[in-house]
């Protein structure tokens, strides 16, 4: 009886080991290929210095000292970007970090300008997707929320929310779908209205003897502001008024205030 199992197990093991190897190889390829696949992209990463000189810092930050300069006419290869800093390799092999303001003064080998993509207020208005985290007060309890939104047009977007509610007497989860309307989406501080519906699950804390878990439907209306901060980063503050449709005689009303941040892309 043991023999078949000893032959079977190594087979499965080998297969899974193989699939792991395949995954690792695929990952390694993914990591390597984008760097070398496209010859056109690679040529774009080499830029010529058009300013009198290009200053190379030892690290990606304002305070790091300048340790090398590349003269006008020489070219550098961009190897990496972190926040607003670019790591470049000069013709003589010296590597250092250059800020965006200086990189924008470089040219392509054919003399044309290079565009260093940077998100701005326009992207804030027209981006399709948004992901954010907010926290605040939900009827006296603490609430932490994660949401993802998709814009149908600059004015109207649909959002899916998941929240964890942590109170003194009960904890819970809440999920909802919202429609959000921004009247002036091109403003830096853009107000919005929202309507939504969802479900809430509440369970009393373990130290509370009475009470049982409940699932209820919710509806809410609210308003708030989105504020463009920097790059792909925005801040958000909102108020929502919830109605919890309980199975008891009276519906519950809960007010919620939240503050947080979001990324759009």
């Amino acid at each position: 009886m043991l023999e078949p199992s000893t032959t079977t197990i190594p087979l499965t093991y080998r297969r899974s080991a193989f699939s792991w190897c395949a995954c690792l190889v695929a990952l390694a390829l993914l990591a390597i290929v984008p760097g070398h696949a496209d010859a056109a992209d690679e040529s774009l990463r080499t830029v010529a210095v058009a300013d009198p000189y290009l200053e190379l810092h030892t690290g990606p930050g304002r305070g790091y000292p300048i340790f090398h300069v590349v003269d006008r006419g020489e070219s550098v290869e961009i190897t990496m970007q972190r926040t607003d800093w670019y790591k470049v390799r000069a013709e003589n092999g010296v590597e250092g970090w250059v800020d965006r303001a200086q990189m924008e003064l470089t040219l392509q080998p054919d003399g044309q300008e290079v565009d260093f993509e940077q998100a701005d207020l326009d992207d804030f208005t027209n981006s399709k997707w948004e992901v954010g985290i907010l926290a605040g007060d939900f009827g006296g309890a603490n609430i932490i929320s994660l949401y993802s939104g998709y814009s149908l047009n600059p004015h109207v977007s649909i959002e899916v929310w998941g929240s964890q509610i942590l109170g003194n007497f009960s904890n819970g989860w809440m999920g909802s779908v919202n429609v959000v309307h921004e009247t002036w989406p091109d403003w830096r501080v853009s107000p919005f209205f929202t309507l939504g519906a969802g479900v809430i699950h509440t369970s009393p804390k373990s130290t509370i003897i009475q009470g049982e878990d409940r699932d209820d439907q919710i509806g809410h209306v609210g308003a708030g502001v989105r504020v463009y901060a920097t790059r792909r980063f925005s801040l958000r503050a909102e108020y929502k008024s919830y109605v919890v449709f309980t199975s008891r005689n009276d519906n519950e009303e809960v007010e919620e205030w939240k503050l947080g941040f979001a990324f759009f892309f």
Partner: protein, 226 residues
């Protein structure tokens, strides 16, 4: 909120949402529609033969995300000190600011009451697992360099973090505020070592009255930028 306020609120929301096109035109805030293209451009004399400049965008390897793991020790107030391990993911927004999410797990021991009383147990053994998640905002307060010998320099950062999250311990999820600081040592521009000290504050009521407890954590971590 009174019913009439809510109704008013709802009406405002509905009007602005449904009457989007009408409203924006009414108040003149909408984008003006382009006039219909006329068949012939009126009185065009010179045909500008300027080639459209093509601005190309280089595909650069962006490394703003940082992901990794950590292991260390955590002191759970009243429940002793034990190993903590977890994972971290961070996104660097600017050279100074970053946002970070961490998850971690540790194991609470016995309180002194439980040790002295013999067999009595305040909580079940499976409730002693201390699991947390936190969402933090961080700031690189002291960027700098560390030198090893004469020929090697490594970039370093001291940073501060603060944030909130939830901890599952003693049978409940508990709202948690955490803050702390750390030291990031960049072994290469893509691999970093971390030393972190954090305090997790949460309210707990299983030892009689409700109190705020400090759970101190110190850990070593490795992260990779991508």
């Amino acid at each position: 909120m009174e019913i009439r306020f809510r109704v008013l609120f709802l009406i405002i929301a509905l009007v602005t949402m449904s009457g989007c096109a009408a409203t924006k035109n009414l108040f003149g805030f909408g984008q003006e529609e382009a006039p219909p293209p006329s068949a012939e451009p009126p009185g065009q004399v010179i045909d500008p033969e300027v080639e459209r400049r093509e601005i190309k965008e280089p595909k650069i390897d962006r490394e703003d995300f940082e992901v990794g793991g950590f292991v260390g020790i955590m002191s759970i107030e009243d429940f002793g000190t034990s190993t903590v391990y977890g994972a971290r993911v961070a996104y660097h927004v600017t050279e100074g600011f970053f946002v970070e999410g961490t998850v971690g797990q540790s194991e609470g021991g016995l309180t002194s009451f439980e040790q002295l009383s013999g067999g009595a147990r305040l909580i079940e053994d499976d409730e002693r697992t201390f699991t947390y998640y936190n969402l933090n905002v961080g700031y690189n307060i002291l960027p700098g360099e560390g030198f090893i010998g004469e020929g090697r320099a490594y970039n370093t950062n001291f940073y501060l973090i603060a944030g909130l999250g939830s901890t599952t311990f003693a049978g409940d999820d508990r709202f948690t505020v955490n803050f702390g600081g750390g030291f990031r040592f960049l072994f290469t521009d893509s691999v970093a070592f971390h030393v972190d000290f954090r305090d997790h504050l949460l309210d707990i009521d299983i030892l009689g009255e409700e109190k705020t407890v400090h759970n101190l954590e110190a850990h070593l971590g490795v992260t990779v930028f991508f």
